[in-house]
Symmetry: C2
Subunit: 286 residues, 2 copies
């Protein structure tokens, strides 16, 4: 039996024989929502951590890597985004980064209010004040249904989802990407998280194959997130107009001039699409 | 008490409250050498792993990232390297990568024969056949003394060391870098592993400060190694001739044309020196 003095550690499994472990210095929140277990813990090294079921979703210290990569690449790929759609992203980090651009409107559709509320209360630096921005609209609703019902136009869309199981599964389907493409115009851009190139290669291939019929360009790009097991992480972007890997470097600098970032840099944009050879087969699987 | 059926796990501590853990599927080698504990274990996800004291040094599955970055950046920075010196690097991976270039000679000075032998026997894919190459000379000796005594000329040198404690401490001193510069000519290049930008920022600053008096250019570059806690890892290169970040892209392609790699790419060379903003203060600490 664990003694009361012994701190608990959380295990985030990568492979079967490899994991990241985090000491639980305090449990701030622990709730079973209608969709998942939602926890916020305090950890000396990574600060406050959001954990959904048993997977670390984001942490105070490294959240900006994932959110900046998922937001700024598609936003800079579109020549002049005005209306943006976010599916998922309940922690608010993606909406926060999106609103740094001079857009007119952003709609965020998150299925689980518990994630929104837990992050707002316990890790307020992630959503920052994004929900108070008059350009933002928050809907607690099923993103798949929202996209299927259509009726609105967006320039850029992003999907910030958990792994493809349960309620997230439909977010990776060809049908969903096709309905999404219908909401986006002739220059429309969609970016999604597409999993680990080390142990979810089938997922990357599936995303690419499911996007291909609906977008002119489909490109996978790479980031490194310290709190994701295996570290390397992919994002896949579909674009109707411009090639995401071909945006003019001077335009990137100009577009990001007044947007302070901690990870994404215009000078590194094109390098994100240059996959190391050992990941090339995974990243160009489609 | 641990039951005999329960597998052991190895813990590689990052911060105080964060670690990577690996299941020990078999212990292949466990020895206390004159310098350190040398272990080789088998792990389902990373293959065979070399562990010195309690730190994972390298693994069968991801060793190429570290070795390619530490070898090809300095070798391509020198316009025509003929003679190469490696200090440390007992697993042989750095010598293997070095010998892929059309050099005339490489001397490797490793202080601990136990590391050489354990890797040769249990992870032969890392040294490959590098010691049998007639261009290679292996000395089991104190690298600090070898450099201090001088008397030989090299074009490129690399230091593949453990953390700066015990026998490795002197490998990070200004005196050592000065003696190293004396062995290298007017176009000489030195590259060293300089630690984690997340939790060894003082080390990076020290390496930069200690190199600065002895080299015209001092540049820190970045890699991501899944089995190093915190993942991001730095290397620092001192150069007397060319700017390591300014080598002509077409020359890089030409130099690497017949050298197959799994991580390092000429197209990504310049991006290695573009540090994400959150690491800029750490990487330009000097």
């Amino acid at each position: 039996m664990r003694s009361p003095q012994e701190p608990e550690w959380i295990t985030d499994q990568g492979g079967e024989a490899f994991a990241h472990i985090y000491r639980v210095d305090a449990v701030l929140h622990d709730e079973r929502s209608a969709f998942q277990r939602v926890r916020v813990i305090e950890n000396l090294d990574f600060g406050r951590m959001l954990i959904l079921d048993d997977a670390v979703q984001t942490t105070e210290r490294d959240e900006f890597i994932y959110h900046e990569l998922l937001a700024h690449v598609p936003l800079c790929t579109h020549p002049a985004p005005r209306r943006v759609l976010i599916i998922g992203g309940g922690d608010g980090g993606l909406l926060r980064e999106t609103l740094r651009h001079p857009i007119e409107h952003a709609t965020m559709v998150e299925i689980d209010r518990a994630v929104i509320d837990a992050t707002l209360r316990w890790i307020p630096s992630i959503p920052a004040n994004c929900y108070a921005d008059p350009r933002a609209r928050l809907l607690v609703d099923d993103g798949i249904r929202f996209v299927r019902e259509g009726g609105e136009h967006f320039d850029v869309a992003m999907v910030d989802s958990t792994d493809p199981k349960g309620p997230s599964l439909g977010l990776f389907s060809s049908e969903f990407y096709g309905q999404m493409a219908a909401l986006l115009g002739a220059s429309g851009v969609l970016a999604v998280q597409s999993g680990s190139p080390l142990y979810q290669q089938d997922l990357i291939a599936m995303v690419q194959q499911h996007m291909a019929p609906h977008f002119r360009w489909v490109r996978t790009y790479l980031g490194a997130v310290p709190t994701y097991p295996g570290v390397f992480w992919t994002f896949t972007v579909g674009s109707q107009g411009r090639d995401p890997a071909g945006v003019n470097p001077e335009e990137l600098v100009e577009r990001m001039r007044h947007i302070p970032t901690r990870y994404y840099l215009p000078a590194a944009h094109h390098g994100l699409f240059v996959s190391p050879p050992f990941l090339q087969s995974a990243m160009s699987a489609g």
